[in-house]
């Protein structure tokens, strides 16, 4: 199988293209997923955007306006319509421009997408994918920088994926499109230009399986989405100090591969969870409680969470930089944890 370096953004584009080629039921809808709608008569207008980050660029040219649809600025309407279309046998892939716009579509996701099968007796299937964009670090302030993985993961009936690299992004998006249930697929805006080796042919990575990104035996670091890369950078530094960190990427947050994390903790005895989101009722606190429940006896010290703050994401560069956990902090937490030193939580 031929592989080449591909950005996260292009890997997602390729997954969409290959699934659309393979299955005529798959269509895309979202705000400016093509761009320039209604202006098909002059060159340059069609496909003007491909979404604000250009992720869907080129797809309208290949598949036409019937399958790459510029929605209205009305998330409740088009997300809700995707639920109905999924019920009626299509395979919609909706794009919510920023995860923060969850708010304007949440009733349809929370009460309908997640429950349309369950409430009516477990008969129907809602094969819907909602792609959206997470994360801070773009100087985009409080309404365009949130993670919100935990909010979606809290809701039974939804599957939630947040890949940390291009290889996982392609394989998981293909699985999401083929999945019979509603899947929230979260893309981090600061990862779009990051490259990995990605096979050309379509491939599926199972939803709900985590991945060990680096093997070690001194401490387990679980990273959430972009923080996987922060953890890997920290692990390289720790290695020089003789600390062999094992870095785990859950990849899917619902279902969550807690067994993989527990197995690692049973080996290392220490667990640090790094998540740029807020600390309360979070993915980090969820993993922490599940590990305490299942692997308490293996722990050689307290589980630590290195997270963003219990504040909205600020605009000002020094504030936002402080908000997001850094490589140095991961290093400091790990060395202190292994030495048994007390750590004052940052949040």
């Amino acid at each position: 199988m031929t592989s080449r370096l591909l950005t996260y953004k292009d890997a997602i584009n390729e997954a969409l293209r290959q699934e659309m080629q393979a299955d005529s039921r798959v269509f895309l809808i979202g705000e400016d997923v093509a761009g320039g709608a209604g202006r098909d008569e002059f060159p340059g207008a069609t496909d003007a955007w491909g979404g604000p980050f250009g992720v869907t660029k080129g797809l309208v040219t290949e598949f036409g306006r019937e399958r790459v649809i510029d929605s209205l600025l009305a998330e409740t309407g088009f997300v809700g319509a995707c639920i109905g279309a999924a019920f009626a046998g299509l395979r919609p892939v909706a794009e919510i421009m920023y995860a923060d716009f969850l708010g304007t579509s949440f009733d349809q996701i929370l009460n309908h997408a997640a429950k349309l099968r369950f409430t009516y007796g477990g008969i129907s299937s809602i094969p819907l994918v909602i792609r959206t964009v997470t994360g801070a670090g773009f100087r985009a302030a409080s309404e365009h920088s949130q993670m919100l993985i935990s909010i979606y993961s809290h809701v039974p009936g939804l599957k939630v994926i947040a890949p940390s690299n291009a290889f996982d992004a392609k394989g998981l998006l293909i699985s999401a499109i083929r999945d019979p249930d509603p899947v929230i697929f979260m893309e981090h805006k600061r990862l779009y230009m990051r490259e990995s080796m990605v096979p050309e042919a379509p491939y599926a990575i199972p939803i709900g399986k985590g991945d060990i990104k680096r093997i070690g035996n001194s401490i387990t670091i679980v990273g959430v989405q972009k923080m996987v890369n922060t953890a890997l950078d920290a692990a390289n530094i720790l290695e020089k100090e003789g600390i062999h960190a094992e870095v785990i990427d859950p990849r899917s947050y619902s279902p969550l591969d807690i067994e993989l994390i527990c197995e690692s903790v049973e080996k290392t005895g220490f667990l640090l969870i790094v998540d740029e989101s807020h600390p309360r009722c979070s993915i980090a606190s969820d993993i922490s409680s599940q590990v305490v429940d299942r692997a308490f006896a293996s722990l050689k010290g307290p589980i630590k969470m290195l997270t963003g703050l219990h504040t909205p994401v600020p605009y000002s560069p020094p504030l936002e930089d402080f908000f997001i956990p850094s490589v140095n902090e991961v290093v400091r937490y790990c060395t202190s944890m292994i030495k048994g030193e007390n750590i004052v939580n940052r949040y």
Partner: protein, 320 residues
């Protein structure tokens, strides 16, 4: 309005234009960060409407807020400080360009979510009626906002609960990259307003005098009758959705047409013909405004960034 009034309005429009042109340049420099949305081409709406409201009236805006802020009398140095993330900014650097507001003067906020400010302005108007304070709210949004549930539910609330709010749609012909003739089902945005029983009008938003006159009449009507009303101003987003947007979706003849309908050019031409104003005066004002903006930028750029405590203290009104 007499000659001096008009000259004052032109000066204010020019200040907004020079501010946004500076932002446009700055946004392409290496030291820039964040998202910038300029109001170039839409100045007549802000300058025609906002000076007609009272000092204690409420206002909500959007991420395209620079013109609203300057027309409301915000200090351009503090605006720039906000956009540069400095503590001296209107939101202490926490909000940035998309969220400029001065809550101390009832400029409630600039919402980054399309249509997000509509129900909030309605609520401020509702409170004014409740308090019998004779305040009104004015609420700015674009043509794309009419598709949101918040728009429809906000208009319905205002109509049902007779809230004194003036809805102002700046129809700049684009919802992001999507042309209005594609995204709008009706011929006009006011068709929606009429569906909720609102007094409404559709006006040329690049004709400063007309904007001023109609908005003044509507503002007085809203205040007197304690009911909502709606104006759609037809204008044009001469810059992109955000700075850096290549705007390949715009036809060249459309760009040329609206270049000829630039609100600053329209008013300057009229004043040269009707009041025999020397064209050099406009150039002089423009260059003075350019200097003011550069000075504001320079001063803001020397201000300190906020401390972490500023952010922590901003979360709750009560210290936890």
């Amino acid at each position: 309005m007499d000659k001096e009034d008009l000259l004052g309005k032109w000066k204010l429009m020019s200040l907004i234009r020079e501010f946004d042109l500076h932002v446009k340049d700055f946004s392409q420099s290496d030291e820039a960060f964040g998202y910038f949305h300029t109001s170039i081409g839409q100045e007549a709406v802000s300058v025609g409407v906002i000076p007609n409201i009272n000092e204690n009236d409420y206002l909500t805006s959007t991420y395209r807020n620079h013109s609203h802020g300057i027309a409301r009398g915000l200090d351009i140095k503090r605006m720039y400080a906000e956009m540069l993330g400095r503590e001296t900014g209107y939101c202490k650097g926490i909000g940035g360009s998309m969220h400029i507001a001065d809550q101390s003067r009832n400029f409630i906020g600039s919402m980054g979510i399309v249509a997000g400010g509509i129900p909030i302005a309605v609520g401020a108007a509702f409170a004014s009626r409740y308090k019998k304070s004779n305040q009104i709210a004015i609420c700015f949004f674009g043509d794309g906002a009419v598709h949101q549930g918040a728009f429809h539910e906000g208009l319905e609330f205002a109509s049902k609960f007779e809230s004194p709010v003036l809805f102002i749609c700046e129809n700049n012909l684009y919802a992001e990259s999507t042309a209005v003739e594609y995204h709008l089902i009706h011929e006009s945005v006011i068709n929606y307003a009429q569906g909720y029983g609102l007094k409404s009008a559709k006006i040329d938003g690049n004709d400063l005098e007309r904007v001023h006159e109609v908005s003044q009449e509507f503002i007085e009507w809203v205040r007197r009758n304690q009911k909502p009303a709606f104006i759609e101003f037809m204008t044009y987003k001469m810059s992109g959705q955000y700075e850096g947007d290549k705007q390949t979706y715009k036809p060249t003849d459309e760009i040329a047409y609206w270049a000829g309908r630039d609100p600053l050019v329209l008013l300057a031409n009229k004043m040269m013909i009707e009041y025999k104003v020397d064209p050099n005066l406009f150039l002089k004002i423009e260059s003075e405004n350019k200097e003011l903006v550069q000075a504001a930028f320079n001063a803001a750029n020397n201000d300190p960034y906020p401390s972490i405590d500023v952010m922590r203290d901003a979360v709750y009104a009560e210290t936890l």
